[in-house]
């Protein structure tokens, strides 16, 4: 069965600068369970792309396998998408990005997809600072294979079947910071107000942008003992400070009392404005970001917001020094040395 949404929309719906309504950024009807956190994240992606005036065809969405990795079908229906294999989205995104540096690459993964089978690729895509947005829809379990513990399930959390998880959880944000990811954020699927600016900022970031979104699985991991349930997450959220994303050229309307305001300019001219900052935590300082992550873990809190940002690093294209024209636009004239060049090659082999 295929699901196609009715296309009719009211003519007066607001349009973005490109003249598209929000619905133009939607995808097929979701087939996930009602109340699944992943659907809220899809909605936030739709809203972010709309507000960022992204041409859908200039964005490619890629994913691995899992309920979370299914979501690219449910957003940005006018973008090319690629549902690849379990845990290997980063490699496919790397190749795609190398072929055309002019598109935006949005990768979606799950905690199983990233923290277990795909751990190697996750680590290495960070190491290469591939310019992409990498969203993990983290529910602490394998949704699609019916609720087994994942490697991000917290030690001591209890699955629906009543089994206590004996193993240490992998903290994806802590790991990403440790590995030198250049944009690391954490959020909650239920917190649109925070999530949308984070996704928008990630879209503007010139490098690898990682967002770990706690996204409860209502079917398999929303029970009392789970630390990825709605109730637990709501009760343990610790925002690092509210923050706004102001795209390039837009008038800055919010004003702040001096001392509370902290603005960071992104490479494309857009601004990140933090309204309140923890006194000893600075998102531009890797050590303090690490410390904040560790402290939250000690206190059993889930720290959210933009945890770490490094704008200075070169992205993979800069590192391998590719030309400005996308590689996929080069023609025979650009690429083939022709028969003439073979004369000296042959001569050198005699």
């Amino acid at each position: 069965m295929t699901f196609i949404k009715p296309k009719f929309r009211h003519p007066d719906l607001p349009k973005n600068k490109l003249g598209y309504t929000l619905s133009y950024y939607e995808g097929a009807l979701s087939t996930l369970c009602a109340g699944c956190g992943h659907d809220s994240i899809s909605a936030a992606i739709i809203q972010s792309a709309f507000e960022m005036n992204i041409e859908p065809h200039k964005l490619a969405k890629l994913s691995g396998i899992g309920c979370s990795s299914k979501t690219p079908t449910y957003f940005l229906g006018n973008s090319h998408g690629f549902n690849s294999v379990h845990g290997r989205m980063p490699s496919v995104a790397t190749g795609a990005n190398m072929a055309n540096k002019d598109l935006i690459y949005l990768g979606v993964s799950g905690d199983g997809d990233t923290a277990s089978i795909g751990m190697g690729q996750f680590v290495h895509v960070i190491r290469r600072n591939l310019k992409m947005i990498y969203i993990v829809m983290n529910n602490g379990c394998y949704g699609l294979t019916k609720g087994q513990d994942s490697a991000t399930a917290d030690n001591g959390s209890i699955s629906k079947a009543g089994i206590v998880n004996q193993f240490q959880a992998i903290d994806l944000c802590g790991l990403a910071i440790e590995l030198g990811a250049t944009f690391v954020a954490q959020s909650f699927s239920g917190d649109k107000k925070q999530l949308i600016p984070l996704i928008k900022a990630a879209m503007a970031h010139n490098g690898f942008a990682f967002i770990n979104v706690i996204s409860p699985c209502v079917t398999f991991n929303n029970n009392k003992g789970s630390t990825k349930s709605y109730d637990f997450v709501r009760g343990h959220l610790e925002a690092t400070g509210t923050f706004d994303f102001v795209p390039e050229m837009e008038e800055i309307t919010t004003t702040y009392e001096s001392g509370e305001k902290h603005a960071i300019k992104l490479h494309d001219g857009s601004l990140l404005q933090f309204n309140k900052l923890d006194s000893d935590w600075d998102p531009l300082d890797r050590f303090s970001a690490m410390k904040a992550v560790h402290q939250a873990r000690e206190k059993n809190e889930i720290i959210t917001g933009l945890l770490y940002l490094n704008q200075g690093a070169m992205d993979l294209h800069e590192l391998v020094n590719t030309c400005d024209r996308p590689l996929n636009t080069l023609k025979k004239e650009d690429l083939c040395p022709g028969n003439g060049a073979l004369a000296s090659i042959n001569a050198g082999l005699r």
């Binding site: 490619a60 973008s79 790397t94 795609a96 190398m98 690729q121 996929n328 025979k332 073979l342 042959n346």
Partner: protein, 608 residues
Amino acid sequence: MSDKLKINDFVVRFANVNGTGSASANLLFCKAIFRMGIPVTPKNIFPSNIQGLPTWYEVRVSEKGYLGRRDGIDLMVAVNAQSMEADIKSVRPGGYLLYDSSKKLPDHYRRDDIYFIPIPLMEICNETYTDARLRLLFKNIIYVGALAELMQFDFSVFESLLGDQFKGKEKLIAPNLNALKLGSDFIKANYRGTFDLKVERRDLLKDAIMTDGNSACGLGAIYGGATFAAWYPITPSTSVVEAFMEYADEFREEKETGKRKVAIIQAEDELAAIGMVIGANWNGARAFTATSGPGLSLMNEFLGLAYFAEIPLVLIDVQRTGPSTGMPTRTQQSDILEAAYASHGDTRHILLFPSTPKECFDLTATAFDLSEQLQTPVILMTDLDLGMNDHISEPFSWDDSKEYQRGKVLDYDDLEEIERFGRYLDVDNDGITYRTIPGTHPTKGSFFTRGTSRDEYAAYTENSPAYQRNMDRLVKKWITAREYVPSSQLYQVENNSEYGILFFGTSQYAAEEAMDMLKEEKFLVDGLRIKSFPFDQIAIDFLQSHKYIFIVEQNRDAQMKSLIMIELGISAEKLISVLNYDGLPITATNIVHQITHSLERVEKYTTV
């Protein structure tokens, strides 16, 4: 012991220690013969080791142009104490042993049926050089000089060779010539024994080149327009990407900016390497990877995705003997079935089988066309022998009028014309559908690529008929592919023998020679060299029109025979396997021996 001179027809084996600089000296010997216009084949037999273990370099000289390996060592250059005893044993009766006589040879190494040619290599070096490194390096050059004297080389060939080798570093030419002279002088002054292996200038090679298949593949990828490569190091495939890198440095720099018209990523493993290549091809760049058996195993899941999602990609599989321990540095053709059916579900992949460096170049470039035209992986099945050993080959050539065949890709204008784009709609009824590259058109042509089932418009579906329709279309595409792949090569225009011999890849050299040997025995066989899978009509006709077909392959399990039986339904009784799986390139005598042996069986069987 015959007194008959063996002119331009013998085998020399060098027994060295890995990592002692012997490779360039041995190559100098081989290249000199090549420069004298005499067909010559070198084979490296090396351990999986960087320094210290025994390594051999075998050079066959054949005026008749037989370029396969040949059994029987006429001359052993034994400079490795570690393997000396076995090396001496391996010389054919009546052959020669050139050895370092600085240390006395143990008595029990002696043989009465071979000639010993002692040279105190180490002593000469110690007298001449003070630097320890030079002593080690020139020891090898000295024995080349000795050989050249014994075989009566035209010495001028060394001058021009070294001149080319040390262009820009001319200072190095004289010391090398001097070391050669030390060797030759020693022979002149001291060796009075018999020596019947001679080299005479012939100029049989015209414009031929001498190079290895891996370099040729790397160059082919440059000419074929690859802009992206991802790989994970594994012998014997590593030098494919290394060659690509070197040629990219030369040919892919943007003049104005100094930036590069290529990206090459060393991936974290083979899974990532092929994933990247899939991503790049999906996004419209020509991309490839190179690996060997274990890497191919790791790439299996992704190969299935690429087959089903219909994404072009080029994979160069330089085959070797199985797993990573044991004999990973020896040759084999043993990935055939794995490559042909790589992955889960119903999959089948296009395979190409090059035999020479020229074909490595041509077929790598062609592979990019084929994979984009057919929107599916194309696997180039080469092997360690072809990839890492130097081979005499036709020179490279390129037809400048030829355009890249990018297949059915819709651009902006095409999409404008179309009412509704269907990614998997078989518009032309050949099983090949139209694809779009991300970013082409703001409102048309986007689609979702999946490894699960979809309908003609790329929409997700679990509908059984839709799944089956798609699988049947892929079969149609496979049949279409037969017309695209390179044709088999026939060795007799008319099939006039009841017997046929079928071979592919590096077995070509020994098989051609074997056919000549059989002809001398008045046993005529028709020959066919397969260049691709799916099998073309020429191959099918050949297999059907002969009563018995010998299938020559370098693996234990007769994988090509299995593939022929599975795909073409040819009966097993017709197909007689000729196999070689000891890690060394197959020889003509081995083929002839196996054929005569099985003929006896066949005759017995048919006369009963």
